[in-house]
Symmetry: C2
Subunit: 322 residues, 2 copies
Amino acid sequence: LATIALDAMGGDFAPVETVAGAVDASGRGVEVVLVGDREVLAAEIAKHEVDIPIVDAPETILMGDDPAKALREKPNASITVAARMVARGEAGGVVSAGSTGAAMAAAAIIIGRIKGVARPSIASIFPTPNTPTLVLDSGANPEVNATQLYQFAVMGAIASEALLGASNPRVGLLSIGEEKGKGRAIEKAAFELMEASHLNFIGNVEGRDVGTDRVDVIVTDGFTGNVFLKTTEGTARLVFSYLAEELAGLSDAARAEAMPALQRVADMLDYETYGGAHLLGVDGAVVISHGSSTRKSIANALVMARDAVETDIASRIRERLG
Amino acid sequence: LATIALDAMGGDFAPVETVAGAVDASGRGVEVVLVGDREVLAAEIAKHEVDIPIVDAPETILMGDDPAKALREKPNASITVAARMVARGEAGGVVSAGSTGAAMAAAAIIIGRIKGVARPSIASIFPTPNTPTLVLDSGANPEVNATQLYQFAVMGAIASEALLGASNPRVGLLSIGEEKGKGRAIEKAAFELMEASHLNFIGNVEGRDVGTDRVDVIVTDGFTGNVFLKTTEGTARLVFSYLAEELAGLSDAARAEAMPALQRVADMLDYETYGGAHLLGVDGAVVISHGSSTRKSIANALVMARDAVETDIASRIRERLG
């Protein structure tokens, strides 16, 4: 069932941007259901030319709420209802730009882990000119063990192949030196597991390999992965801000040419190209979007979730790890 | 004693660039002694107009050697002899672009840890338009505990104030969310220690704070710190390469203006501005330079080491942690 339940109340710009994103995704052939306050969503969808079904979910989980507690106490929150639709087979996947903690808890508790998967993992997509790089775990699991890292590698390779078009994806372990034996005890143990596996394991990779065409799947714990991704974001922003300042001093004619070039590079690195990150290891397609997601991100996230349903990522993971 | 012993045989471009760097530093008032193969160094220094004293050290530690073993087996290696000069009071500090492991081992074993310091730490300097940011540990200690993180914070604050001109340096703990309680068990424990201390602790910082004017000292374990720094390097290189490609398509006139602007930003982020990283917590000034250090880096590293001797960083650390 390729229907995607959109948590239409989640995110900084909900419901305006979430509903607009759903409209765009619908135009791209995604079957979307809007989940949230019926009255609010009906008013919002009325601004558009297309009609998208609404499933009522009058409660809201706030960013400050304790995720697991909020799930229990708010059975009619939009993310809770959306996850339940997947659990009941009424939808194949969920997209949410609301609290990441709540989306993860809803996925783990309501949709459920795939048997054999110790920890579901958030796999973020880093844009590159060729096959984008998948980075996991990007924040769901700050502290893991080597077996869990190995499972992240397996799930990442499946997703890279099915969703990003890598053939026999190259898997690298994020460490602090290329040679085997570099890193902490956990990297040393995970290296052994990956080396002995069916994976196309290329060994350790480093922070400086970001965006190069060396690796398709970068595996690390959720703490390091989160630092890694936020550092790429911060550094790119830093370079752009320095450049914008320098370009301001150019002649009008030169600036008129250089600024669009800068913009093209910024677009190439724009995280909105990918509307969110895949939560792998749960029994359905779950895409977690940035809290500041706009129409464009939401539409792209819905397409990602549809692709994850259609390529049946969950079954492939179950076959390998279940 | 402000004499700096330069491991003139260490680094990819030794002895040509190391000796040239020593000549430049000498021109900037640094008292340098070249340590290494006397014949090789005498021939090299003869190419320059100034004379710099040489201390003979005919053995060489290779990048692949086990550091501690090499120190024992090669008592006349350049890094061993240079460290011994500090231990004997014949020099105030050492600069090496050779094997980082060997330099760290020589510093810990021959020069010695400051009493009370559990682990010496490599503090790298991240360039910013204002006060540069110190990042530690940047690779010496992949696995640490909360008390050691706290000691890194103390040593980093001392170095930031004495060497980088920060007044009451703002110390941040690298984590995966700004709020207290974000991160792993170690960050939670270190947060408590720093919060209760004399430090100007601003709480957690994130990868995306890199290069902003929010924080003077970023504290983390050596694994995360190394990933963080290499990721900034990789991302900046990635953005520059995309930009260079885009700018190549501009008109000649626009390109002639835009390329120097790009170069100015690259220069601003150039790690060679700082010739190396300070090893803090040992009983002397130790600056560890990049293996690919050029004349410019080596000269800057020698100035850094001289400044560390003159501001007596080691005594300040001893006073606080000894």
